[in-house]
């Protein structure tokens, strides 16, 4: 039997195993919405703004590893998703965005709600398609999912003119797909892996630096095995948090601009660095000229273009992080070599003296709520089991520093693009994927406003997310930079005329609590987290002067960190001029 393009599309989604799509209807997508209405296999979540749809799909993808799916109409429908598409692109998140397009005969006519969806999305997608013929639809959808979730994952846009969704043809969903122009390399080069194993074992001051690629590949077990077997220090990027348990003594914390003192000093002083599923971005390296001056670098990445892009590499290995880690473990087993235990002992002594600086310490005697304290308590009360999404800014860095992630895919944030407004819609996707789990959105009063409309979606679909709003009445990270680098000229970083968030939450049909005394923080969190069925907006009135430390100013080296003035005294304990083993 022949089906319409719209029915074919929905069948494709079903046959692809899609459970949820996040979307918003409109003229060019109406045939598709009609097809959705007639079935129960694929559940549509109606967001309140298309940006929310793309972030929700992204959140779903980050915690499940499955592509998030978005459905929007033409014109503003698709342009509103661009921020979410770019967010997913920067963090290599699999996503398929289906956009309605004006009918084929009107394309190029400046028709109502027409925009060149391929053109506007091109710089921030892995690939995109315009479906010109209903007979190509099923194969295009199959390719879209295949491209989105293989190799280095990313978003794929499929633009479908309205007449194509009305036209009919026979339906069959391709079982497999093969493309002569797209064959990601999965297995690393055996010779390179052997060389890498030798270099790793010959290290005196090693470090294993891993990123989001390990999460994507599901390589956390192999990573943990490697780190433990070698007894080497491990640091994670913002995107890689959770791949190595934060409480493990071999973990030296996050690295980079707001990484721990020990992680950054290790990066600076190391002689061999294994970088895996990480891409040496500027927030990691600081000044490239001062980056890891003594290190021989092994770089494992599925994307050849990420290797050697910013930092010269001794041993490049193109491949899937999990496969390469497993092969590296076997290569190490086959070598008749042991780590240099003596050098390693000295190295750990050095690391522990850096660790003793306690670079994440903060003033615990303040009569104002310290944001770090809220996150420490959140971690305790949720036993580290919650899924935590965040927006972007100071609260994001504190969440990364103070919520001790032990498992991958628990920490959901916009690392690459730095998208304010991401946290709440992403939390919706997370909660739909894990309907029994605690989902907390850690945010700030500036970020949360950017997609606040999604509180309405949360009401419609009963998504009892807990919002931890660290309300310092500033765009905190902007304010921090203005304090440090602009002589305290706080240009437009003050959040004036804020809403009453408790009332706001209530007006959306949720509940809210205001906490402004440090003594109330723990109990408020405990009570709120116990309310399993309610979305509760927790408005914490925090110390507006608090800054994120440590900090490597842009253009500085890893050994040039600003520490919290609170810890400055202990810094003296660490000799700055050191002789390297």
């Amino acid at each position: 039997m022949e089906l319409t393009g719209a029915d074919i599309l929905v069948r494709c989604l079903r046959d692809e195993g899609v459970k949820y799509i996040f979307g918003y209807p409109g003229g060019a997508a109406l045939h598709i919405y009609d097809a959705l209405y007639k079935q129960d296999d694929v559940r549509h979540i109606l967001v309140r703004h298309e940006q929310g749809a793309s972030h929700a799909a992204d959140g779903y993808a980050r915690v499940t590893g499955l592509p998030g799916v978005v459905l929007v109409t033409s014109g503003p429908g698709v342009t509103n998703t661009i921020t979410g598409i770019a967010t997913a692109y920067m963090d290599s998140i699999p996503m398929v965005v289906i956009s309605g397009q004006v009918p084929s005969h009107l394309i190029g006519d400046d028709a109502f709600q027409e925009v060149d969806a391929l053109g506007v999305s091109r710089p921030c997608v892995k690939h995109n398609y315009l479906v010109r013929d209903v007979r190509d639809l099923a194969e295009t959808i199959k390719k879209a999912f295949y491209i989105a979730n293989t190799g280095k994952p990313g978003p794929v846009v499929v633009d479908i003119p309205k007449d194509v969704t009305a036209a009919k043809c026979m339906y069959s969903y391709p079982k497999s797909v093969s493309m002569r122009s797209y064959n990601p390399t999965i297995r690393g080069h055996t010779g390179q892996i052997k060389k890498a194993a030798k270099l790793l074992l010959s290290a005196k001051r090693p470090v294993i630096y891993s990123g989001g690629g390990v999460t994507t590949a599901g390589g956390e077990q192999a990573l943990q095995k490697l780190v433990r077997q070698l007894d080497y220090p491990c640091t994670n990027t913002l995107m890689g948090l959770g791949c190595f348990p934060a409480n493990d003594p071999l973990f030296i914390g996050m690295l980079g601009m707001h990484g721990t003192y020990e992680a950054n000093m290790v990066m600076h002083d190391c002689d061999v660095m294994l970088a895996i599923g990480a891409r040496f971005d500027d927030r990691i390296t600081g000044d490239l000229a001062k980056f890891a001056p003594y290190a021989k670098i092994i770089h494992v990445d599925i994307d050849p273009a990420s290797i050697g892009k910013n930092v010269p590499v001794e041993i490049p290995i193109v491949g899937d992080a999990k496969r390469v880690l497993e092969d590296l473990l076997s290569a190490i087993d086959r070598l008749d070599m042991q780590p240099n235990y003596e050098a390693l002992k000295a190295w750990w002594n050095q690391i522990n003296s850096w660790r003793s600086v306690d670079s994440l310490s903060y003033d615990r005697t303040s009569d104002k709520i310290k944001p770090q304290y809220v996150l420490e308590k959140l971690y305790e009360i949720t036993n580290g089991e919650a899924f935590v999404t965040s927006d972007v800014g100071q609260h994001q860095m504190w969440a990364a520093q103070f919520y001790q992630f032990d498992k991958p895919r628990r920490w959901v944030n916009s690392g690459g693009l730095g998208t304010m407004g991401f946290g709440l819609p992403a939390a919706m996707g997370v909660r739909l994927a894990y309907p029994e789990s605690d989902v907390v959105c850690v945010t700030g009063e500036a970020s949360i406003i950017m997609c606040i409309q999604e509180l309405s979606t949360c009401k419609q679909y009963d998504l009892p997310i807990k919002i931890v709003n660290l309300n310092n009445r500033y765009m905190g990270m902007v304010r921090q930079w203005q304090e440090f680098f602009y002589d305290r000229r706080y240009s437009h970083s003050y959040m004036d005329a804020l809403p009453n968030f408790v009332d706001l939450a209530k007006s959306f049909g949720h509940d809210g609590v205001l906490i402004d005394d440090p003594a109330d923080v723990e109990e408020a969190l405990r009570e709120t987290m116990a309310r399993k069925d309610d979305l509760v907006f927790m408005d914490f009135i925090t110390d507006p002067t608090e800054n994120v430390y440590p900090m490597i100013a842009a253009g500085s080296g890893h050994n040039e960190m600003h520490l919290n003035p609170h810890t400055e005294g202990s810094r003296q304990a660490v000799p700055q001029e050191r002789e390297l083993a």
Binding site: N128, L130, I147, T185
Partner: protein, 174 residues
């Protein structure tokens, strides 16, 4: 780092939008394009593109890798790395009156150009060769008035056995 001229051959799916992906890649990442030519090959599902660019070795390595990342790109080859032939086509319309008529005709013959259109006052000359030859010809034609000039951009091909076909060497991701 030293900037060098590179000539990059790309075999890609003959699909609409593929050209804009390549052009977009160059502008988004700040790579320069001196010339770009593209047309379908003997296999109508494939197009062959030649891009002339300038950059340090690092930049050109990135360009090659980023081109390979594009889904529609089948193969990429940097011809500057190997023995190759490159050609460019120029059509040039010049004033040809009085005694200059003979002079321009003679110059065209010297450069092995062909006069392909003639009126009482103009010639259109077709010339093929490497860029430097075309430049030299333009220079000599300054004896008369150049009314119009159009160049195709460079097309290149490797000498000898190596080929950028579907079964040739230099596979993607290698």
């Amino acid at each position: 780092m030293e900037e060098k001229r590179h000539i990059i051959s790309v075999l890609l799916e003959n699909e609409s939008g593929a050209l804009s992906r390549v052009a977009g890649l160059f502008s988004a990442r700040g790579y320069n394009i001196e010339t770009l030519t593209v047309a379908p090959t003997e296999d109508e599902t494939l197009s062959r593109m030649t891009i002339v660019t300038a950059g340090s070795d690092n930049v050109v390595e990135q360009i090659t890798k980023q081109l390979n990342k594009l889904i529609e790109v089948v193969k990429v080859l940097n011809l500057a790395d190997r023995n190759h032939i490159e050609r460019e086509l120029m059509l040039i319309k010049v004033k040809a009156t009085g005694e200059l008529r003979d002079e321009v005709k003679r110059l065209a013959e010297i450069f092995r150009g062909r006069i392909i259109d003639v009126t009482e006052s103009i010639y259109i000359i077709e010339l093929t060769g490497e860029g430097s030859k075309l430049d030299a010809f333009v220079e000599t034609l300054k004896v008369t008035e150049i009314l119009e000039l159009v160049r195709s951009g460079v097309s290149g091909i490797a000498r000898g056995d190596s080929s950028l076909g579907l079964n040739g060497r230099s596979a993607k991701n290698s």
